[in-house]
């Protein structure tokens, strides 16, 4: 079966700026795939290329196995939800949702104002449209708002209307451009759940653009991390987190940011305090060690890697705490340790949150990156197998 959406070698320039660089992506039916990246990385442009609102300069977009490059947005089997919702302010909620259906089913003369109502033989079509609009409105729980204008709705209600307008066409692919970013924090978490419910219920493919890594990690079946116009890595959220192929992915995903310590590689191995970390490739010179905050332990007797650091402050969130240190090594980098509430209590009971402390990590939890940022596979480490297939390296 062909993929629902297939992007092959997409390039796009704005003037002399290369905003999309050789992007390829295969999306299967029913996937919830997130394009995530910092602002300006090209994720919204890529979404608009899929929609047909922007033309790519080279490459192919295929939906359901057929190239759609020559088709206008309305002829592609897609619907889109915009960041600002883009509801038509002069139309009622009902008319907003009905518009995509009317355009497709009514003869064009019947869609003009004033004369539209005079076209005969439209009764059946009008009833069908009204029925489907009501159905979708019921699903999105806005059936009581159909007569209102968008100006009379709250942000959350507008969001639902935008979703309903997308759903009413029953498209194969839903394109969503930061749809939750205009909502307040509480509502955003709530709508996240509703979007996931909707995705499961409809069984459609979702392409979701966000700069919020929490949205990306919590909602997606797969996450595509975009940086500087490229898709750097596409993988399931847990794999993106534990097994990043690039130091930029490792830094972008995960909050607080991954701890980075400089080290030296010699003849294909990194020399640590108590052991050598053998690399699968022969590398020499400076490398960077990456350790997630929860993998860095305080104290620890015999550890594969350890560093002395001065305690600076603690951010307590109740269930867990973030402990900030500054390394005593020459580079004095910042180090963060994530501790659960009981761990923090135990640490305090020992009287030890002061001065210079030893932080340590096991060899299996250390990610090694070369000086140009690429992940270096380590021998014998837990996540030694880095699949370079999905990596598009600079």
């Amino acid at each position: 079966m062909p993929s629902t959406l297939s992007l092959r070698n997409i390039d796009r320039y704005f003037g002399s700026t290369h905003v999309i660089r050789d992007v390829s992506l295969e999306v299967d039916k029913g996937e919830f795939i997130t394009l995530v990246g910092p602002s300006g990385c090209g994720k919204s442009t890529l979404l608009r290329i899929i929609a047909g609102l922007v033309a790519q300069d080279s490459g192919t977009v295929a939906i359901g196995g057929e190239a759609v490059d020559h088709l206008r947005p309305k002829s592609r089997d897609i619907a889109m939800v915009f960041q600002s919702y883009a509801l038509y302010p002069h139309m009622s909620v009902f008319d907003n949702i009905a518009l995509p259906l009317k355009v497709r089913r009514y003869p064009s003369i019947a869609r003009y104002p004033l004369i539209g109502g005079l076209v005969p033989g439209m009764r059946q079509a009008r009833e069908d449209v009204a029925r489907e609009v009501r159905q979708v409105a019921a699903q999105t729980e806005i059936d009581s708002l159909l007569a209102r204008k968008p100006g009379q709705l709250s942000g959350g209600q507008k969001q639902r209307v935008a979703l309903a307008r997308a759903m009413v066409r029953k498209p194969a692919i839903f394109l969503m451009d930061e749809p939750l970013s205009n909502l307040d924090a509480r509502l955003r978490v709530h709508m996240r759940g509703e979007l996931l419910d909707m995705h499961q219920r409809l069984g459609a493919t979702f392409i979701y653009v966000t700069h919020d890594q929490v949205e990306a990690m919590t909602m997606s079946t797969r996450v595509a991390v975009m940086l500087e116009g490229r898709i750097i890595q596409v993988a399931a959220p847990d794999k993106i987190y534990s097994d990043p192929v690039d130091i930029r992915v490792a830094r972008f995903i995960g909050s607080p940011e991954i701890n980075l310590c400089p080290a030296q590689a010699k003849a294909g191995a990194v020399q640590l305090e108590t052991c050598t970390l053998p690399l699968a490739v022969a590398a020499n010179g400076p490398v960077t060690l990456g350790i997630r905050p929860e993998n860095l332990k305080i104290g620890g007797g015999k550890a594969d890697f350890s560093v002395k650091a001065r305690f600076e402050r603690v951010e307590n969130m109740g269930n867990e705490a973030l402990l900030y240190f500054r390394s005593e090594t020459a580079d004095t980098s910042r180090l963060v340790v994530r501790q659960s509430a009981p761990e923090l209590a135990a640490l305090r009971a020992q009287g030890g949150l002061d001065g210079v402390m030893k932080l340590s990590a096991d060899i299996g939890n250390i990610l090694i990156f070369s000086s140009d940022g690429a992940r270096l596979p380590a021998h014998g480490a837990r996540s030694a197998k880095v699949a370079p297939v999905e990596a598009v390296q600079a």
Partner: protein, 305 residues
């Protein structure tokens, strides 16, 4: 601590407590200007309209509504009222539609939008009286370029400003030329206010034929601007004076007599200020009615928020 300390007795705004006397002191200059420059003159004109005051007279007497009755039954005033309505009907639709047309065409230009905007706005920046002289030459029956073209084509010579049928339409053409650029700028401002995402949403939803997009998205969203431009054009059509004053002076045979010109003649050529004041009051009522229509409809019908 007593609760009296918390109770606010003075209205607070922007965090400051302003005594009412100070507040009134702040609006006093504006109120004074408004009264002295607007309300008072209108009251004086209103009072004069009930007298037989003539310019230069030392005394005058109260005549009741005689001036109004005279104006309503005077063939000159009725004719000038009819001419003004005719002029408005000739100019308003064309200057609004051509302004809208120019705005939509220029708004979608990829290059040179600023240049064309400047070109079409130029007539607005000119003073109408000298421009009217240019137009008089252009439309002149013997030496004008249009007359030359007509004679080259073997058509009869037309003296636009001496033909009762053509004089008003000729004035209307000049006025449309002068006013369309202004309307264009207002419409471009209205178009700029339509968010790009709405056009994107429309093309995803399937509204991508330019004409259909115009009727389903652009025009409804321009509604408030359209109404504003319409009423402003109407008001300026009713206030027409300079073209008639410079070009035709009401001729031929009163075919271009408009309300303000008749009023002006009444007051400053025949010195009948009482009668001119009554005509001015009638004119003011018309403008007032148009303004009320404008603010009412803007509040009720074309309000999307």
């Amino acid at each position: 601590m007593s609760t009296a300390n918390i109770v606010q007795t003075v209205p607070r705004r922007l965090g400051a407590i302003v005594p009412q006397s100070v507040a009134y002191a702040f609006i006093a200059p504006a109120l004074l200007c408004l009264f002295a420059l607007l309300v008072l003159p209108i009251l004086v004109v209103f009072a004069l309209s009930f007298t037989d005051y003539e310019l230069g007279d030392i005394a005058s007497s109260f005549v009741g509504i005689a001036n109004y009755q005279a104006a309503m039954s005077s063939p000159e005033f009725v004719n000038s009222f009819r001419n003004t309505v005719y002029y408005a009907l000739l100019t308003v639709p064309f200057s609004v539609i051509s302004g809208l047309f120019l705005a939509i065409v220029l708004f979608n230009l990829k290059r040179g939008r600023r240049l064309y905007q400047l070109i079409f706005f130029l007539p607005v920046t000119t003073t109408l009286i000298p421009m009217a002289t240019v137009w008089r030459y252009l439309l002149h029956g013997q030496i004008g370029p249009l007359a030359q073209l007509f004679s080259a084509l073997g058509l009869p010579q037309v003296e636009f400003f001496s033909d009762p049928q053509l004089a008003m339409p000729a004035l209307a053409v000049i006025s449309i030329w002068h006013g369309a650029g202004f309307n264009m700028v207002l419409f471009i401002a209205g178009l700029t206010a339509i968010p790009d995402e709405l056009y994107d949403a429309a093309s995803v939803d399937g509204v991508d034929h330019p004409l259909e997009r115009l009727f389903t998205i652009v025009l409804p969203l321009l509604g408030p601007t359209l109404l504003f431009v319409l009423v402003m054009s109407l008001i300026s059509a009713f206030r027409m004076f300079d073209l008639v004053g410079a070009l035709t002076r009401g001729d031929p045979y009163g075919a271009t007599d408009v309300i303000l010109y008749t009023t002006y003649l009444e007051g400053y050529s025949y010195f009948r200020m009482g009668s001119a004041s009554a005509m001015t009051m009638i004119f003011l009522v018309i403008i007032l009615l148009l303004s009320i229509v404008q603010s009412r409809t803007i509040e009720q019908r074309v309000h999307y928020q």
